[in-house]
């Protein structure tokens, strides 16, 4: 494997490279590798920018010192974590908003301090886990009032026993490399605007945990079988799957299932109530792929720039949901539905033990995924941006639409 040469095989600086996920061709390996390294370098630059701000003082000096004490692979884990991205974005937003905040300037100072401390904390956690792995309990752990301390990417944790001794543990892992987060502070966080994390947070019992892990494992195996490259997209671009249970599996409860990706938390996805036995492996496959595609696109955007400004005032009516959604979500949606359609179609072609109910479910979902593409209007013409867009974006959307119309025999003259 040659990580330096692979990215050179694909021009990953242009949005057009993202079409490889729709083709699952030979260049996809190089595109994934290139996007990941570009994102890593961009995150390093973001940290560098935060540390170089003279106003960040002693905390920035301490972050820098701890970061420099980490080996390169641990530094990469910090930089690629959802937690780091979320904190630097908030720090960046506070820096830009403060000069015009007037009487609210103190609130933005507090936001800067809070997020700088969050970055300090996550760098310390990575260092503490590294030290513990080599037999040393750091001052950070000795002084911690927490009983469990997680790595920023969520794939490792330290637990304190009643004697105050800390030991390393690994959370459940999907495909040997994606953490399934059932219990952490991140998993139990209440987020009012989230469709998943605003729901009640109930504890999964042992049987429900087993159901969740088995279903996720079977879903990933199904994806690996149907489209092996999509299994790699998940393993490369998702480090943490947060699972929220908000309902008991009692017969009289109306079920609510959902999944979510948040742009400020790249590398994470959220699933709601997948412990319910009614939720099929096929539904879980689609959901994981849906959110992983968002993560793939978000990684490119973080490395190269966002497709569009996040303007929540100008919205596009989604041809899939009928909801008015921001341009950024709409562009993502075109990729997501195309990729999910490809996955489900391949699944039907290769799965040998799919039962009638699951087969009917997949056919329904194929129809839903395809429907948004089968409108007469060019998908790119629905974008509501007031700014000029990169030309690749509209071309990619219309190419996917044309491909889907060909597949379903929809001509322009119909």
């Amino acid at each position: 494997m040659n990580a330096q040469l692979k990215p050179l095989e694909a021009d990953v600086a242009r949005p057009a490279c993202l079409m490889e996920i729709t083709r699952t061709g030979a260049r996809m390996d190089a595109v994934m590798e290139g996007i990941m390294w570009a994102r890593l370098r961009r995150m390093r630059t973001r940290l560098q920018e935060a540390l170089g701000n003279a106003e960040h003082g002693v905390i920035a000096r301490s972050i820098h010192a701890i970061y420099e004490a980490l080996p390169a692979d641990r530094q990469a884990r910090v930089l690629l974590s959802s937690e780091f991205c979320e904190s630097y974005m908030a720090l960046d937003a506070a820096r830009k908003q403060r000069p015009e905040a007037g009487a609210d300037a103190m609130a933005w100072d507090a936001e800067s301090a809070r997020n700088l401390c969050a970055i300090h904390d996550l760098v310390q956690r990575e260092k503490a886990l590294l030290d513990l792995a080599s037999g040393s309990t750091s001052r950070y752990l000795l002084e911690s009032r927490d009983w469990v301390v997680d790595s920023p990417v969520g794939d490792q944790l330290a637990r304190k026993d009643v004697q105050g001794r800390w030991t390393l543990e690994t959370p459940p892992m999907l495909g040997d490399c994606v953490a399934v987060d059932l219990h952490s502070k991140v998993a139990r966080h209440h987020e009012p605007r989230s469709g998943v994390l605003s729901q009640p947070c109930l504890a999964l019992d042992e049987a429900e945990q087993a159901v969740v892990l088995d279903k996720l494992s079977r879903a990933l195996a199904g994806i690996d079988r149907a489209e092996p490259l999509y299994g790699l997209v998940i393993r490369n671009f998702v480090r943490r799957i947060v699972v929220r249970k908000s309902e008991e599996s009692t017969p009289d409860v109306a079920r609510r299932f959902g999944s979510e990706h948040v742009p400020r938390q790249p590398g994470s996805l959220r699933l709601l109530n997948i412990h319910h036995p009614e939720l099929s492996v096929e539904a879980c496959m689609e959901s994981i792929m849906h959110e992983s595609t968002h993560n793939f696109l978000a990684a490119w955007e973080l490395a190269n720039g966002f497709f569009v400004a996040n303007d929540y005032q100008h919205r596009v009516v989604s041809p899939w949901s009928g909801n008015p959604i921001p341009n950024s979500s709409y562009i993502h949606a075109v990729f997501v539905y195309y990729v999910c359609h490809r996955l489900l179609k391949s699944h039907l072609a290769v799965a040998d033990n799919i039962d009638a109910a699951a087969r009917a479910h997949v056919h329904r979902r194929l129809a839903v995924c395809a429907a948004g593409f089968l409108i007469e209007q060019d998908l790119s013409s629905r974008l509501m941006s007031t700014q000029p867009l990169n030309a690749d974006i509209g071309t990619m959307m219309d190419d996917m639409q044309a491909d889907m119309k060909r597949e379903y025999g929809y001509g322009r003259q119909q």
């Binding site: 990469a76 960046d92 794939d155 979510e260 720039g305 909801n323």
Partner: protein, 100 residues
């Protein structure tokens, strides 16, 4: 649709480095010295005063992309890419409004 399912596939070298450091005995850095060396270069912070972010913003602007992250931290509805895994008749209306 071209069938590429039988092509050889491998996990990214960067993913292996990142996940390897947290799993006992799974470090493969010694097997990929080139990747390891690239990692050193990609994560090292050698100067706090360089202009990398300014260059990034200029490049993004030139390509009609948005360099600024402001807004993506915003928690207004639409900042989350949410979808209902299955649309059941009894599904709560409050939940469906998040869908893309």
């Amino acid at each position: 649709m071209k069938d590429n399912r039988n092509m050889p596939k491998a996990l990214s070298a960067l993913t292996l480095l990142v996940i390897g450091s947290a799993s006992a005995g799974a470090v493969m850095a010694s097997e990929a010295p080139v990747a390891s060396s690239a990692l050193d270069q990609a994560t090292a912070i050698v100067s706090l005063d360089d202009l990398a972010m300014a260059e990034f913003q200029a490049n993004a602007r030139a390509n009609n992309l948005e360099a600024l992250a402001t807004g993506h931290h915003d928690d207004s509805i639409g900042s989350h890419h949410h979808h209902d895994i299955v649309k059941e008749p009894e599904l709560n209306v409050e939940a469906t409004r998040f869908n893309v």
